[in-house]
Amino acid sequence: MSWLWWSNKAYAVDETTGPRIIPNTYSFALSRAVEVFKNTNLKPGQGPNGEGKVEFVSGSFGLFRKPAWTRVWSGPIECTIRNSQGHYLDSGICDKNFRRADRAIVTFNTTHLRHKNTVILKLSALHEIGHVFGLGHPAQNCPSFMTPLVTAFNPQSLSPQEHQYINSSY
């Protein structure tokens, strides 16, 4: 899976929280997260129009915004919609047949994630990539990284059901 990275001018380089044995950066966490999806049928970027472009953005968005969020488009039409609390939800106007999503931007809010370790960064990346491919939120007690609350206790791999969903959808 290929993916793109850019950061806003607040953090012109990849975020690093300090010297560690393994690099604690967004891009490292993302590379680990992307590995999880590699043994599925996903082929982002290989559609006839380059479908499957996933961009990751980090920036400082302040205390009162979410730690991370995902927006999805089909061409110029946004498939996600912002609710009254500022959350992006599936608007329901895209589907895998007639208006297929072909682009997503995942935003990480450094204000919340700056001091988080690689496990949390990876789980946050997994969670958002899961949304990119259409996974929703199961109950908090489910063994999945897609639960509404992401903690270090979440599993770091796809559940059999999630694996099956992705393989049957793409």
Binding site: G59, A68, N83
Partner: protein, 211 residues
Amino acid sequence: MPNTLLRASLLIALTSSAQGLSSQTIDYEELMHRGEIGYHQDFAPESLASLVGSSAVIVKGRFGDFLDNVFFFGYDENGRVITRRESEFGDSGYFGAERLSFYEIIIDKVFLGENLGEKIILSRDANPPSNRKYTDPDIERLFFLLPAPDGTYGTLGVVAIQNLRAGEYTYDTNFIDPDSDVITSLPFLKGLSAEVVEEKVREEVRRLGEC
């Protein structure tokens, strides 16, 4: 004067009075562990203690002027809003921008916070308003706020702006989507008069400040 310049000049005048904030006692992570907010879960405080404790500033006041709306790309290392013209990004980055609206808040009463002056600026992730239905300057409100890096203030969610209507505090769930018009009460404020709510807020602020 262009809106952005107006906001900038107001901000310079106001940020000096926004220093010396009382800090919130319940941070975002704590709220997440309590299940009162999530990665994509709306802020749903379970008690007045949560609503008060998660705020750094609490004021009673009214919306003043709508000041500005910008394409928002986060804050830079100096706390300034990063905003760029569409042409600077082309198609790519423009897609990722949030819309940020700025409103003046005229303060009538301060419950929590120091040296706020008479006005502060509220920043909200929202499109420019087509009307002032949800920011009607005639309605008194309780604002439960957190500071933004640029000297403005924001909220954890729609419940953090409580509107005084018919003697009770309620909140609008429709700030961005005017078609889904719902006015709701927080369960722990439902049925209480405005005076009682304000006294309870005062008590919570006092209690959270105790050792």
